[in-house]
């Protein structure tokens, strides 16, 4: 235990990672082999899945379909990777070590290119084309978005959503985590589970839950079966058609997302709060700080980076909210948001150009977060 630390110059440069591999062959032939080895697995998967008629046939037993898919998706894919690895073994050692990484990483890159990179580029191009995605229309789609009132309302609503929902979710989550932290272990765990529970259900399911809260029947059409109007009637008030009260109906919808997201925010922030060293809290208390001061001066500064992460995460979810609006109001009565209008335009109205322009608006708005994420990742990597 008392070994003095010896100055060790070499240990400053830790030798980790795959540096011990040989210098690689980057010749033209190797590149061709790399690309080929990347394409094999995805192509075989796609050809297999789409050429077998029985996988498309609704009459075939689904259990058979799923079993085949899982067998192919697991055993088949593993066998393909294994076969590719064997093939690479046949190469001489230097080209083999150059090609092998692409056997491992290549199929994923092909999938990413096909399902995310190519569509992102293509959507950007489509945003400058007409409703069939053919004629070039310049900035017309964007002009429509930023001049016609229904789209401006959508953008305004989306902005309000991202201002309100993340803030409320973080404040509620933080408040609840702080309160629950002061409870006994068992009570804390049960109460947190119940707050967290809505995270497990779909946005569509949550919307149905809240249909029975906001439900409205005009007078003379039977008893109120929505909870809020039940309370209104119980208090001797007239029932209110909550989902048509502009602009408040937007906030009614936001409540649903808050209900879903507080659990997430609470769980993450709770673990951050538990990570605040007891020594710091005790020191502050001994110095005479009350609980609010302890929270504001010690706890909060310590967990502020977690707060930022939770905030941006909920923000991205909120910005892309679609299901809730789609199911609850269909975007009527001034409740439209950008993500829902995007689906509405390309899927219902079959206007690919305008839909693509809305998707581009969604994407451009998250670019700052994308950049921050990449920067944060690079900073983490620099510390490894």
């Amino acid at each position: 235990m008392t070994t003095p630390l010896l100055p060790d110059q070499e240990s400053d440069v830790p030798e980790r990672g795959p540096e011990f591999e040989q210098p690689q062959d980057n010749s033209f032939v190797v590149w061709v082999l790399r690309i080929l080895s990347a394409l094999v697995v995805p192509l075989v998967l796609i050809v297999f899945f789409f050429s077998f008629q029985f996988l498309k046939d609704d009459d075939v037993n689904k259990i058979v379909q799923v079993t085949v898919a899982v067998i192919v998706g697991v055993i088949g894919v593993w066998a393909l990777y294994w076969g590719m690895d064997r093939l690479v073994n046949l190469l001489p050692e230097r080209p083999a070590s150059g090609v092998r990484p692409f056997v491992f990483v290549g199929p994923a890159l092909v999938f990413l290119s096909f399902y995310l990179v190519y569509p992102a580029i293509n959507t950007t191009i489509l945003a400058f084309r007409d409703r069939n995605g053919e004629g070039f229309v310049g900035f017309d789609n964007f002009v429509t978005l930023f001049t016609e009132s229904q789209y401006l309302t959508g953008i305004r609503n989306s902005v309000v959503w991202v201002l309100v929902v993340p803030a409320v979710a973080v404040v509620f989550g933080l408040g609840f985590a702080t309160l629950a932290d002061k409870m006994g272990k068992r009570a804390e765990s049960i109460s947190k589970s119940l707050i967290f529970l809505p995270m497990a259900i779909s946005f569509v399911g949550a919307s149905v839950v809240w249909l029975f809260v906001y439900g409205f029947r005009p007078e003379g059409f039977g008893n109120q079966i929505g909870l809020l109007n039940g309370i209104m009637v119980g208090l001797g008030q007239d029932p209110v058609n909550w989902l048509q009260q502009q602009p408040w109906n937007n906030f009614m919808l936001m409540v649903i997302l808050v209900w879903l997201q507080v659990g997430f925010s609470m769980v993450i922030l709770s673990s951050a709060i538990k990570g605040v060293p007891d020594v710091l809290l005790e020191a502050a208390r001994i110095d005479g700080a009350n609980e609010w001061q302890v929270f504001r001066k010690v706890t909060f500064p310590t967990i502020s980076s977690t707060v930022v992460v939770v905030w941006t995460t909920v923000l991205i979810t909120t910005w892309k909210v679609f299901d809730i609006v789609w199911v609850m109001t269909g975007g009527r009565d001034g409740t439209q948001v950008v993500a829902q209008q995007m689906v509405q335009e390309f899927f219902t109205n079959l206007n690919d150009g305008l839909g693509a322009a809305l998707a581009v608006v969604l994407f451009i708005a998250v670019i700052p977060i994308l950049v921050i994420n990449v920067r944060r990742f690079q900073a983490q990597e620099a510390q490894r």
Binding site: G17, F49, N122, S202, G205, F212, A359, F363
Partner: protein, 297 residues
């Protein structure tokens, strides 16, 4: 850290300070919040078990007058709902979800190994692109993929949805698995190399068994994501009753208005039952998976 136990401290944790007695405001407010939080779901659950006529007639809170009356309660709604498409939709959702979880995990595991333990040109740049792709909204991918699917006439087939979910899930999967695999000690991999193990052998015999926790976390996250997904299933699988999934079926029922109100609660719980079972049985892994995957785009 091990030598600080000489003086046993009485007030070990700040949690205990003040004792239970002075904490009743905390307990009271927490339980009030929790009650408010679960009332909407609880009301729906009560409605799902009520006689269909009663659901249309009165609010669920009126049961407290007749809570012991057997005529109040019935499983009829569940029976009707399961016969009217939700049984079939449940099977469809399973058919979509299982392959859509399994396929991306395999592909991502290989890629994550390459990103952590192999050298190849462009490795760092490609990984940064993966990190960036996590935030790209799904909406950016819908139109072009649907156009391609329509050209090849594969819209409305299960494989179309499996591969789409696999593609959309990959950035997060690669990111999570790579962070985990990359933090495994280099020494074990190097010593395996010195013993003559190939990359394949190291991956299959060492890395995969060591990565089971992160594979499970991602599997749970992807399961919930796909099971609860509405958008991808709506666009690529569609509303045809023979293939549509639970969320699409439920949204359709909700769109039918008041006439369907007596069936909606039971239908909603049919869509929720499996995620709730996962939630209660695997809560610890569930939280881990969810928190790890929370940045998905």
């Amino acid at each position: 850290m091990t030598t600080t136990t000489e003086t046993p401290t009485v007030t070990a944790s700040p949690k205990r300070e003040g004792g239970r007695f002075s904490k009743w405001p905390v307990y009271l407010s927490v339980w009030i919040i929790v009650t408010l939080w679960i009332i909407p779901a609880l009301g729906l659950f009560i409605n799902s078990l009520r006689d269909p006529g009663l659901v249309r007639e009165s609010g669920w809170w009126t049961i407290f007058g007749s809570i012991l009356d057997p005529a109040t309660w019935t499983l009829e709604n569940y029976r009707v709902v399961l016969q009217e498409g939700f049984g079939n939709a449940f099977a469809n959702t399973l058919a979509v979800t299982i392959p859509a979880v399994v396929i991306p995990i395999t592909i991502a595991a290989f890629a994550a190994y390459a990103f952590s333990w192999m050298t190849f040109p462009g490795r760092n740049l490609l990984f940064v692109i993966v990190v960036g792709l996590m935030v790209v909204p799904l909406q950016m991918a819908l139109i072009p993929i649907l156009r391609i699917y329509t050209t090849f006439d594969v819209t409305g087939t299960f494989p179309a949805v499996w591969l789409a979910h696999a593609g959309f899930g990959l950035p997060l999967a690669i990111y999570l698995l790579r962070n985990y695999m990359g933090s495994l000690p280099a020494s074990i991999i190097e010593s395996a190399k010195i013993d003559g193990a190939s990359h394949w052998a190291i991956f299959v015999r060492l890395i995969i068994p060591l990565s089971v926790p992160v594979l499970a976390s991602f599997a749970i996250f992807q399961f919930l994501w796909v099971w609860n997904d509405y958008l991808v299933a709506l666009v690529f699988l569609g509303i045809d009753p023979s293939v549509r999934v639970l969320t699409v079926e439920l949204a359709d029922l909700a769109g039918r208005g008041e006439g369907a109100f007596s069936l909606l609660p039971a239908a909603a719980f049919v869509t929720m039952i499996l995620p709730l079972v996962v939630f209660f049985s695997l809560q610890r892994f569930f939280v881990r998976g969810l928190t790890a995957g929370s940045v998905k785009g």
